[in-house]
Amino acid sequence: MSKKIGVFVCHCGTNISATVDVEKVAEEAKKNNPGVSYTTTYKYMCSDPGQKLLRDKIKEEGLDGVVVAACSPKMHEHTFRNASKKAGMNPYHVEISNLREQCSWVHPDKPTGTEKSVDLVRMMTEKTRKDKSLNPIKVPVTKRALVIGGGIAGIQAALDIADAGHEVIMVEREASIGGHMAQLSETFPTLDCSQCIMTPKMVELAQNENITLYTWSEIEAVDGYLGNFDVKIRKKARSVDLDLCTGCSSCWQVCPSKKIKSEFDMGLGKRTAIYIPFPQAIPSKPVLDREHCLLFKDARKKNIPPNDSKVCRKCLDICPIAPVKAIDYTQEDEIITEKIGAIVVATGYKELDDISMYGEYGGGKYKDVITGLQFERLASASGPSEGEIQRPSDGKVPEIIVFIQCVGSRDPAKGCSYCSKTCCMYTAKHTMLYKHKVHHGHAYVFYIDIRCPGKGYEEFSLRAIEEEGATYLRGRVSRVYKKGDKLVVLGADTLTGSVVEIEADMVVLASAMKAQDDAEKFAQKLSIQYDKDKFFSEIHPKLKPVESSSAGIFLAGTCQGPKDIPETVAQAGAAASKVLALLSADELEREPVVAKVDRLPAPIFSTCIGCFYCQRVCPYGAIESEDIKARDGSTIKTVARVNEGLCQGCGLCAATCRSKSVELAGFNDEQVYAEINSVEFN
């Protein structure tokens, strides 16, 4: 019965061995512990020869339990379990002692680190002693993917998956797909028109038969697990029947509310209440903005159903569709449920647009202090000024324009501590767009560092300086204030050690890329992790860059952190390939870390008393009730049973159970007590 346990202590080069006496740890593991029949140390346990050593020793020494004292189990638990499996041992008899992340890297004093390591190894040895053989659970896979977000990341991922022959559901919360990329005027470092490369992809997506598109829709809830998600989608009331509407444009042409700030134009342009966000929108069918629509305003004021209001029905009246009009004021939100196998999250970023926090720059106070994305709209041929660079305040062409980099970025005091990565490049681009349109104008850029480590990027930013004549000043701006119709910019040039005062006509703030306002809530809906800046976390920064912390949910684009278009597209492709790998299997294996209610021989059958407290606490509805029946069909007792397919292995039921009838595989009471008991106390 007593196990033969092998302990393998890894040096990790010198990462562990520099501050932990690995030989002593191996030696101590054996001392006073008859269960440990073999110990060794090795330079790199995770290397091929290291894994071979493990396999060989399992066979030679007849080990039926293994402790690898190495890095965090999050790094290589899987590696060592696989290796053991190859050697014919059940992989769930392998435990990892975390000597690197939680010991050698944080305790530089060698005796201290060694003493702790000895403890850590002993804890895992004792746990291993109680390990039981487990087998992976097989689950079927729904061969359909969900892509959340219809920006360039989502579009790329959806197309890649659909082109490989799988069904894709795309959910976009705005009225059209396209995201931020559709708003950009030109793109760096090639200066090709953003919409020219974007719109064909949008059309391709709309026409792809494998893709179902839900715009003006949001994710309501995600349940289930890898391969078998149940996703509830809220189709927000659009007031327009997409099947009937032909996008003829009559309705938004007659709409009398014409002065609503256009979100797509970053508040610089105007739109109607029934509108399409931009001419190339997909679908090219309008949405009715109920907040601003006169009819709905009137209905709210009078507290009557919108259909009873007679204030304005111009859009409905003019709609040429017959016999049933495409406009429907009574439409309500609709919830639809889809079965999904894998999910790509591509929800994008939000530009720091609340620049009022930069009072020293007159943010939010002066109309001619604008953000980078606003400048994109100004420079865009489809923008509010049809591509002419004009001051929002009076339409004047600015002769001196000042760009301030790192607004919100690299600013732990007010904004975010990180670098937004794209601003150096887009500011260089902005100076060029400006110089191309205003030949006699002067562009000044205040920067702290110029960061452009991409292909062709360095050359691009130098072109702005050397060929296009932008003047770069190394320093930050402290204050922008109004003097007559000029904006006085008070900055520094640290290279000459002087204060620089520029009387400018317009100021552009290269504002930071931030996580979406509701990123936190959204992450909680999907049970995925996010970082301190509310960007979604990948599980390994280098080796698993598109995997979220929840199996089957992948990340693409700027929802994971600031990045530019090429990087976004590459990541979207990577996420798509991960989805495809998943969908290519008919069955998936899942970690067998699930709960189980005990079953015993008659006459006890189970120690479960049928209180079903476990059912109340289970977040997944995985606890069912089972009638244990006598031969005559009469019920002897009703007890709890865990549905392995639904159980996610949190252990809530086990901790709640009063009769100790539920155990969580891999973390049962015996194992935990063994760990506690093995700690050496004073």
Binding site: G359, K365, K483, G484
Partner: protein, 300 residues
């Protein structure tokens, strides 16, 4: 009721600059005069000392902290839980010193040893604008007798009322509004301008007059460009620099601003119908007649 009255008795720390017979006595006179009409009741802290001002913190941090904290401990001893220091140099030094000893145990011990009193830090130190806003806005509306006509006031806050913002926690450091609200409340026009919190040169009045002349020139120009015909202040140093240096500026640049610089307390006093002379308005360098004459009785 009793709790409320207890709350409105506030320890008064005038500081050196605004006591009787000092350079800026009219600030103190008007603050006290106004408080007699609209409250809250101000009682001078017994035996207060100089906070050390800029010379203190510029050359000796511990000394400066001890000098400031001694006054807070005195106020505590007298049983006040709030202290008004109308001079922002004083209020800022007091609050920052409070914060310093709060965060630095060692410093606290040294200071306690030096001032021979315990520090408990339960006293809230307030500037004059805070006191007016928190206690007297309704009273002003109730007891106002006069209203100004055509008075356009640029509210000038200077440095020490708002900076450092993380410690002082008073108003928006880039675009404060409290004084503008008071100005508006008494019926004058608060002009929006750009130099609300620009530095006037502060303590360099004597030692680097040239710096003060340049900085005050910028501020006065900003106020004039915004169309102000008076500048309201709540700081004796701002007042001294803006009021006294207009002559020097004229000598150097040839431009004569002739903008009266008035304390916000004087403006409130005028609105309450107090005698301008009792408010000390005859003690200014730039004649305040235009401001005084802008006020006339409210017809009831």
């Amino acid at each position: 009721m009793s709790e409320e009255t207890k709350k409105t008795k506030i320890g008064y720390y005038p500081g050196c600059a605004i006591t009787k017979c000092s350079t800026s006595e009219e600030y103190g006179t008007s603050v006290l005069g106004v408080s007699r009409v609209i409250g809250p009741e101000l009682v001078e802290i017994d035996d207060w000392n100089c906070c050390g001002a800029s010379s203190g913190h510029a050359t000796n941090h511990k000394l400066s902290t001890a000098l400031s904290v001694r006054n807070i401990s005195l106020a505590e001893k007298d049983g006040y839980d709030e202290v008004l220091a109308p001079c922002p140099m004083c209020s800022q030094r007091l609050i920052v010193s409070q914060d310093d000893v709060e965060k630095d145990e060692k410093l606290r011990e040294e200071v306690e040893d030096a001032i021979e009193m315990p520090i408990s830090n339960n006293v809230k130190v307030s500037n004059y604008l805070e006191i007016v806003k928190n206690y007297s806005m309704d009273e002003i509306a109730e007891k106002q007798k006069k209203k100004p006509e055509g008075l356009k006031v640029a509210s000038y806050y200077g440095c020490l009322l708002v900076r450092p913002p993380k410690i002082l926690k008073f108003d928006d450091p880039e675009d404060p509004k409290t004084m503008d609200e008071i100005v508006t409340a008494i019926g004058a026009e608060a002009v929006d301008w750009e130099f609300k919190t620009s530095c006037c040169g502060g303590g360099f009045t004597l030692s680097r007059t040239d710096v003060v002349v340049k900085l005050t020139n910028d501020i006065l120009e900003g106020a004039a460009d915004a169309g102000a015909n008076a500048i309201a202040v709540a700081c004796p140093m701002c007042h001294a620099n803006l009021d006294m240096k207009q002559n020097n500026i004229e000598k150097e640049t040839g431009r004569r601003f002739n903008i009266p610089i008035v304390y916000i307390s004087e403006l409130i006093g005028l609105a309450l119908g107090l005698n301008p002379k009792d408010l000390g308005m005859d003690k200014h360098f730039i004649d305040t007649g235009s401001v005084i004459n802008a006020f006339s009785n409210i017809e009831k």
